[in-house]
C-alpha cells in the first residue's frame, strides 16, 4: 500500500531532482537557442488567437460588472479603477498562464510521454545527447520568455475592450474612464504582472516537463501524465498567485 502522502512526497522529491537536473544540464550542455526561438514562435503563434479573444471578453465583462456595482452608488468613476485593478493585477496574468498551460503545457507533456513510450528519450541518451537539454530546456525557456509578453498583450487588449464597452455600451465619458483606469495602473503593477507570469511560466514548463519525462510507458501513461500535469499546474499556479499577491500587495 502506498498512501497518498507518500506518493505526494515522492512526486515532490522527483520534481525537485528533475528541476535540478534541468538546471545542471543547462550549464553542462548549453542552451539550444535555435530550438528556444523555434518553440517561442510556435507557442506565440498558437496561443495568441485564443488568448486575444479571451482577453477582449474579460475586458468587456469587467467593465459591465464594474458599472453594475458602482453606478448604483453614483461612483461611475470607479469603473475604470475596477477594470484596472482586476484586469492588470489578477485576471490577465492568470488568463495568459491558463492558455499557455492548455496549449503548450499539455502538448509538451504528451509529446515527452510519447517519446518516453517509444524509447526515443532512451535513444537520445544512447546517442550521448542529453534529453533535457534537447527536449525540455528549450520549451522551458520559450514558455518563460513568451508568457510575460502574452500577459502584457492580453492586458492591453482587455483594457481597450473595456474602454470600448464603457464608452459605447454603458455610455461613460471616455476621457474620465480612461483617466481613472490609467491612473490606477503603475509601473509597479506591470512589473508585478510580469513577475507573476515568469513564475507561472516556470511552473507550467517544469511541471509539464516532469510529468511527460517520467510518464509510464504506453497510451495509458500518456493520458495519465497529461491529466496529472494539468491538475498540478493549475493548483500550483493559483497557490503561487495567492502567495505573490500577498507579498506584493498584501
Amino acid at each position: 500500500m502506498t498512501g497518498l502522502p507518500e506518493v505526494f512526497l515522492r512526486r515532490v522529491g522527483g520534481y525537485g531532482i528533475f528541476f535540478a537536473a534541468c538546471v545542471r544540464s543547462t550549464f553542462q550542455h548549453g542552451v539550444r537557442w535555435d530550438r528556444v526561438l523555434e518553440e517561442s514562435q510556435k507557442l506565440g503563434v498558437r496561443a495568441f488567437p485564443v488568448l486575444a479573444t479571451m482577453a477582449v471578453f474579460v475586458g468587456t465583462n469587467l467593465a459591465i460588472q464594474g458599472h453594475a456595482a458602482f453606478s448604483a452608488l453614483g461612483a461611475e468613476s470607479l469603473v475604470g479603477m475596477f477594470v484596472a485593478l482586476g484586469g492588470v493585477r489578477e485576471v490577465c496574468p492568470l488568463l495568459a498562464a491558463t492558455m499557455v498551460a492548455a496549449k503548450a503545457g499539455t502538448e509538451m507533456t504528451a509529446q515527452l510521454a510519447v517519446m518516453r513510450t517509444k524509447e526515443q528519450i532512451d535513444a537520445l541518451e544512447v546517442m550521448a545527447v542529453d534529453p533535457r537539454a534537447e527536449l525540455v530546456t528549450p520549451s522551458l525557456l520559450a514558455i518563460m520568455l513568451v508568457l510575460p509578453a502574452l500577459t502584457i498583450i492580453s492586458i492591453a487588449l482587455a483594457l481597450v475592450a473595456a474602454t470600448g464597452v464603457a464608452v459605447f455600451q454603458l455610455g461613460l465619458q471616455r476621457g474620465d474612464f480612461v483617466d481613472y483606469m490609467m491612473s490606477n495602473i503603475t509601473v509597479f503593477d506591470l512589473a508585478a504582472a510580469t513577475l507573476k507570469s515568469v513564475f507561472f511560466g516556470a511552473i507550467i514548463a517544469t511541471v509539464s516537463g516532469y510529468f511527460g519525462f517520467y510518464s509510464e510507458r504506453g497510451p495509458r501513461g500518456v493520458g495519465q501524465a497529461t491529466n496529472q500535469a494539468v491538475v498540478v499546474m493549475c493548483i500550483v499556479c493559483i497557490s503561487v498567485n495567492f502567495a505573490l499577491t500577498s507579498i506584493l500587495y498584501g
Binding site: D122, A128, V129
Partner: protein, 253 residues
C-alpha cells in the same frame, strides 16, 4: 582471447518481484559478432539496456570497453556511448524529424562534417539498408520493416566501435534480412566493429555469429561458437534449436 568488449559479472536485475536476470556472467569478444538468443521475455532487451547504462543492475558489475557502466557518471557514460550505436527493438526514430534528419542526427551532434558530407553519409547508409532516396519521408509514413532499417542506418552512421542490434531482422522479408546479415559481416570485417545482436532468427544467427549466447529464465544456458552451442546437451537449448533447425529434439519422446 583479447580483452573482451563486454563483461557482465554476477549481474542481477529485477523489476519489483519479477527477477529478469540472475547471476549473469558473460564476456563478449572484441571485433566479433555475438548473437543473443532466447525466448520472448527472458530479458534480452534488458541485457542491452544494462549494457548501455539505461538501466542499473541491482547487483553485479558491467564493463564495456574497459569502462565500468554501473554507477558511472553521466560524463563517463556519454563518452562511452559516443562509441556505441544502438538499434532499439521498435526503432525509436524521432517522429518529428524526417528520415534524413534522423540518420544525420548523431553526425550533426558529434562530428564536424559539413552539410554535404552529412548528406552523403546519410545517402550511403540508406543505400546500404536497401532504402535509397527516402531522406525526405517522415517515419510515420514508413512500414515497420522500413522504420527498422532506417534506425539501423542511424545506428551505424557514426561507424561506432560497438553496435547493438535488438532484433534487426524481425519484420523483414528473407531477402532484405539476408542483406542486413551481409552488411553486418562486411562492417565487422572492414571496420572491426564489435556487433552484439539480439535475434529470433536462428538460421540467420548461426550465419552471422562468431559467438552465440542463449538466455533462458534469467540465466545463460549456452555460450560459445555455433558448433559448441549446437552440441549443447542443455534440454532447453535442444528444444529451442530443434524447433527451428531440424535437429533431433532429445527431450521429446
Amino acid at each position: 582471447m583479447a580483452e573482451p568488449i563486454v563483461r557482465f559479472t554476477g549481474v542481477r536485475k529485477a523489476f519489483g518481484d519479477k527477477v529478469v536476470l540472475e547471476g549473469l556472467d558473460i564476456e563478449l569478444p572484441r571485433g566479433q559478432t555475438s548473437v543473443i538468443l532466447g525466448p520472448s521475455g527472458t530479458g534480452k532487451s534488458v541485457f542491452l539496456k544494462l549494457l548501455v547504462g539505461l538501466l542499473e543492475p541491482d547487483e553485479g558489475q558491467i564493463e564495456v570497453d574497459g569502462v565500468r557502466v554501473d554507477g558511472a557518471t553521466e560524463r563517463e557514460l556519454f563518452a562511452l556511448r559516443k562509441k556505441i550505436g544502438m538499434l532499439f527493438q521498435d526503432g525509436a526514430l524521432f517522429d518529428s524529424m524526417s528520415v534524413g534528419d534522423n540518420i544525420a542526427f548523431p553526425l550533426r551532434r558529434h562530428s564536424d562534417l559539413d552539410d554535404d558530407a552529412i548528406d552523403a553519409a546519410v545517402a550511403l547508409r540508406l543505400e546500404q539498408v536497401g532504402l535509397p532516396g527516402i531522406e525526405d519521408q517522415m517515419p510515420a509514413s514508413l512500414s515497420g520493416g522500413m522504420r527498422k532499417r532506417v534506425s539501423l542506418a542511424r545506428a551505424i552512421v557514426m561507424e561506432p566501435d560497438i553496435v547493438l542490434f535488438d532484433e534487426p531482422n524481425s519484420g523483414l522479408d528473407p531477402v532484405t534480412s539476408d542483406e542486413i546479415d551481409a552488411l553486418i559481416g562486411r562492417m565487422k570485417e572492414e571496420l572491426g566493429i564489435s556487433f552484439i545482436v539480439i535475434s529470433h532468427d536462428i538460421v540467420g544467427a548461426f550465419a552471422v555469429a562468431d559467438r552465440i549466447a542463449m538466455l533462458y529464465n534469467g540465466a545463460l544456458v549456452a555460450y560459445g561458437t555455433s558448433d559448441e552451442v549446437l552440441r549443447s546437451q542443455h534440454p532447453f537449448v535442444r528444444r529451442f534449436l530443434a524447433r527451428n533447425m531440424d535437429l533431433p529434439d532429445l527431450e521429446s519422446p
